[in-house]
């Protein structure tokens, strides 16, 4: 179970649109709120194009046990720095929080080895959600399977699996 923490980058799913505020499901006990002004270049007239069911990568502005968590897609200097609506296509799946921490470690072999295979895009949320997008559906699914299995495979098994794939 994920506990929202201030400053954490997470992937949220838009569940509701209540006027000026979006409700996001973050995988915690409560839904997080996201204001439409918390995007780069957003003004009252220039609203971001967010629909129910969209994926959003943002960070927590407020996250304590007394208040509803609040998210923003903008950093302190006003730039998006990679946050915002995650594009079309791709695949979202859940893994354990420990694996995310492992993957985000400075020298992660899994990510290094995967990056050698083929071009793809990866978004890791601290709430245990990963979003993958590759050129074909097959490639996407391969990456997903490897990441999911990484939790229980040893380094050798992983290298074997990757060698098979790169051999194909």
């Amino acid at each position: 179970q994920y506990v929202p923490v201030k400053g954490d980058h997470v992937i949220g799913i838009v569940t509701a649109k209540a006027g000026d505020v979006f409700k996001l499901d973050v995988g915690g006990s409560e839904q997080a709120s996201l204001s439409y002004l918390a995007f780069e270049g957003a003004t009252k007239r220039n609203r971001p194009n967010v629909q129910v069911g969209d994926l959003i990568y943002g960070q927590f502005l407020v996250a304590n046990k007394d208040m509803e968590p609040e998210m923003v897609c903008i950093d302190s200097s006003g730039r998006s720095s990679g946050m915002g609506i995650i594009g079309q296509d791709g695949f979202l799946f859940k893994v354990s929080l420990g694996l995310i921490r492992k993957l985000l470690a400075p020298k992660c072999e899994i990510i290094q080895e995967l990056s050698q295979l083929y071009p793809f895009e990866l978004v890791l949320g601290m709430n245990g959600r990963i979003w993958v997008k590759a050129k074909t559906v097959q490639q996407t699914l391969i990456v997903v399977n490897i990441l999911e299995a990484c939790e229980y495979m040893t380094a050798e098994q992983r290298k074997q699996a990757l060698a098979k794939l790169s051999g194909k």
Partner: protein
């Protein structure tokens, strides 16, 4: 009879603001201090020794990011999404630690060759100082001979050449 008895005003009345406007500053201060004393006597306080606030050496950190120096979560590999790959180059591929080369060479103000040249002449000039008189005369003759050789050639050069018709 009217001048003998003065009506005594109560203390509370005297403490009121409109009565104090006419007073001197000194008497005002005295009155304030008296008031403070009265208040402090009635004021309740704990008769315990001062407890020092213990400085806690434990800092609570709820996020994992600073603990393990985690990377940014959005990554792109092999140029799939250039918008992410270019600004966040280090997220996809690990940054190789660049070794900082330390320059041990100190840049000298004067090069070694110059130093050697100057030193040569220096030795000669200082050596002349300590020569005996006889040796000094020998040196002078040598100099003159050297000069006389060069003079006629200089004079030859200085002559004016008439323009030939």
């Amino acid at each position: 009879m009217a001048g003998e008895v003065k009506t005594k005003l109560s203390k509370n009345l005297l403490r009121m603001k409109f009565m104090q406007r006419g007073l001197d500053s000194q008497t005002k201060k005295q009155l304030e201090e008296e008031e403070k004393k009265i208040i402090s006597e009635e004021h309740w306080y704990l008769d315990l020794p001062d407890l020092k606030e213990k400085e806690s050496f434990i800092i609570e950190e709820r996020s994992f990011m600073p603990c393990e120096d985690l990377l940014y979560g959005r990554m792109s590999f092999k140029g799939f999404n250039p918008e992410i790959e270019v600004p966040f180059k280090c997220s996809g591929l690990r940054c190789k630690e660049e070794e900082i080369e330390v320059d041990d060479k100190m840049e000298a103000d004067v090069s070694d060759e110059e130093m050697a040249r100057r030193y040569e002449t220096l030795v000669g000039t200082i050596g002349k100082k300590f020569l005996r008189k006889r040796d000094q005369r020998v040196l002078q003759d040598e100099d003159e001979d050297g000069n006389s050789n060069t003079r006629p050639s200089k004079k030859a050069k200085k002559k004016f050449l008439k323009p030939q018709d």
